[in-house]
Subunit: 456 residues, 2 copies
């Protein structure tokens, strides 16, 4: 609202109306529940998480529906869900001339979604045993010795998040961005969301320093935030010794090297450009940001296949990025190593380790179930998308990009130079569902589909 | 050799030469090892399995290399590996005019590969704990009360296999096939291999009864052979109560129904044709046979995506079909159900069942590792294939069709109306490796890549 007022855009009335509506519903809920006890059961926690993300998406879709953009209800909901889940897929064309209030609203949604996900991943999911997240319980309880209460933890993390965002705004401005663009892009960079204020995304800036700033802060958003907390408390060492960080950085270096070599030997780019542009686009996909400055669909089959797989992998747990996440691959690797040892020595006793500690007995099964459920959800989404008429590559990459909360897909339609606008409404609802389950680590939502869940 | 002699084709000399070469090597190995003890360790069993399948492929590539077909070494090896693993991908064009000896040789390779896989899956893999196959150990030991020795088990299964093949030959002949074609197709139907004697595969026959015969015997080849053994001993009941069979048949009915409805509502076929042709092509893909009578790539995105996923699923363990296999999905489902119950009641005790028995504690982890390793191998194969220059759909479907031992892929080049001939040699070697690891349940091969394996 303030942005529209500042730039003299009449849409500020829309935001004022939305504030009133939201305040009315929020106020009513607070007043009607204020006297109730705050202790909730495990089941209620699952219902709460899913319904919070769903109702946030509904409420935040209002400005899109009511503003001068005049989006349909489906498009508004899709855009809001894509924002809140930090996916970054968009149905809006004509961003370059869109009102500043809407542009900032999209960025704020991703920024709030980003911090929401970090706090949820640090304070709620580990205690719900979702998809092996319980492995971070020890890590958390270590920090809790210093910060005993979740509320305090949330505010510390929030401060770090705010600090990184401010740094990012300043860095963008120093690289030559205008103030408004720097603010909007910083909000969507640190949250690895990927909404831009231009249809052409980062291709708008043909500027090396802007690209480097984006690279640095996308990586920053893809690291586990608990490590920043430790660093702020003076313990910088875990930032370098953490297994997940090492795997994340190692994977980035390997993929960037492979892609750069491929681009150079196929005479697509000079070595310098190849390293810079492959770093930008790979980091953008792995962290689930979804900024694009090249149509990498044109870089050849190897790049398309590699990028497809990288979208699936994702960043670190406890960060703003999504996807399967590095630690699950590492837990799997540790477990598979033990499996292989057992195949060779059927009577031997072997213990799987992660981050220097033995992996608790319930973690591997939890991780494996997650991986399989992820694959199954991907298959179902892809089949559903193709059923409503999408072609093979659009359906496959649409399924991945939604469940991994990346943003752009592959191919002509939803690739880095396209948008989701032309898809049928049914596909948009399927994709919105994909974003929601992907963001909430799948189990959190699907647990409610089990008949056991509803038994008293 | 006999076929070429009978049809007066000079290639019989090639087969005679191959017999001499094989007899020389085989004889030397027998004579030089006859005095050694026959007790082998677990490690030696893994080495033995992989080296047997590899050397069989090498030896059986000889006739392709030496015959009038004059294939390159790469093509010969690819064709032999595709035969032995019952994949059915081919690099040969001009099958309609190929010498009868070669056509029969391809069929025999698949037939022998088929029985080899069944016996291995029943008598070796369950005891090596590969990918959850240990779940069938109890089943096997039940049969062993009646048939105490592996050799006797193998000969009983062999007799059943032979009987089914003869039935299939007769049925094909009654449907109007010529004797030679009936023989060749029966060998590749019951082994769910998929080599045909015509470039156009089953599209050569525009004959409903031929199609129905193929449907029946592909399903027969996709069922667990231990159930035939039980049926032959008078216990027919398991054939209907077995969890895997129920899942297999249920999945077939569901997919055929969905595809038929899709084909009818999109006005692609009449209801009768839709059911018949979708049944034929779905069963051909699920069992990993790979016969085709329509270019289903033209049936629309939904069919392509569904068929892609069905290729991954595969048939029943203990049959000639490949892929992930039904029982692994069922074990996963049982385990996921327990996981969900545990999420809801963190302190409850729940037990996963399969086929009416509790699942042993080591099975779920073994199955999950298999599933993940399958996904990882698929990703690696797809990336490798795209690196050597294949487009997205060819690389993705090539990776799936090789690791699932199906045969045809999707798209213009390797789809049901194409061949693998035009691919670069490097892609053929990658695909051959994919077929081998897919056929040997991945772990059997990959265990040898572990450094632990080679420690004394």
């Amino acid at each position: 609202m303030l942005a529209d007022l500042y730039f003299g855009n009449p849409d500020w009335k829309v935001f004022l109306l939305c504030i009133v509506i939201t305040a009315f519903f929020g106020g009513s809920l607070i007043l009607s529940n204020a006297s109730l006890a705050h202790k909730i059961s495990v089941k209620q926690a699952f219902i709460l998480i899913s319904s919070v993300w769903l109702s946030l998406s509904l409420i935040s879709a209002l400005p899109f529906k009511l503003s001068a953009m005049d989006l349909s209800f489906t498009d508004s909901f899709f855009e809001a869900m894509s924002g809140i889940t930090t996916t970054g897929s968009t149905v809006i064309t004509g961003l370059d001339t869109a009102p500043p209030g809407i542009l900032l609203w999209r960025a704020i949604l991703q920024w709030l979604g980003g911090i929401g996900i970090i706090i949820m991943a640090m304070s709620v999911l580990p205690f719900l045993n979702v998809g092996g997240m319980q492995i971070f319980r020890t890590e958390l309880s270590e920090s809790e010795k210093v910060l005993p209460r979740t509320a305090q933890l949330a505010s510390s993390i929030g401060l770090i998040y705010l600090f990184l965002t401010l740094m990012c705004i300043i860095a963008y401005m120093m690289s030559g961005m205008q103030t408004f663009d720097a603010l909007a892009h910083a909000l969507t960079t640190i949250s690895t969301g990927g909404f831009s204020t231009y249809d052409s995304s980062f291709a708008h800036y043909e500027n090396m320093s802007t690209e480097i700033v984006a690279i640095i802060f996308m990586v920053a958003g893809g690291l586990p935030f608990v490590l920043y907390l430790k660093a702020a408390q003076g313990n910088i060492r875990p930032m370098f010794t953490d297994t997940q960080v090492q795997g994340f950085i190692g994977m980035l270096i390997a993929s960037i090297t492979a892609t750069s070599i491929y681009l150079v030997i196929n005479n697509i780019m000079t070595p310098g450009d190849a390293v810079l542009h492959s770093a930008f686009n790979i980091i953008s996909l792995v962290t689930g940001t979804g900024f694009a400055n090249y149509d990498y669909g044109q870089w050849g089959g190897f790049v398309v296949a590699l990028f497809f797989m990288l979208m699936v992998v994702g960043g670190c747990a406890g960060s703003t990025s999504c996807g399967i996440k590095i630690f699950r691959f590492q837990v799997f690797y540790a477990v598979a190593k033990v499996q292989v040892q057992k195949l060779i020595y059927p009577n031997g006793v072997f213990i799987a380790n992660y981050n220097g500690r033995p992996i608790a007995s319930d973690v591997p099964m939890s991780v494996m179930s997650f991986l399989f459920l992820y694959a199954l959800s991907f298959a179902m989404l892809a089949i559903a998308l193709s059923f409503v008429g999408l072609d093979f590559i659009t359906a496959m990459s649409g399924a991945v990009t939604s469940i991994s909360n990346v943003g752009p897909g592959l191919g002509e339609i939803i690739g880095p130079s396209g948008t989701f606008q032309s898809l049928p409404d049914s596909a948009k609802w399927i994709l919105s569902f994909g974003m929601l389950i992907g963001r909430l680590e799948i189990f959190t939502v699907l647990v409610m589909l089990s008949p056991h869940f509803w038994k008293s």
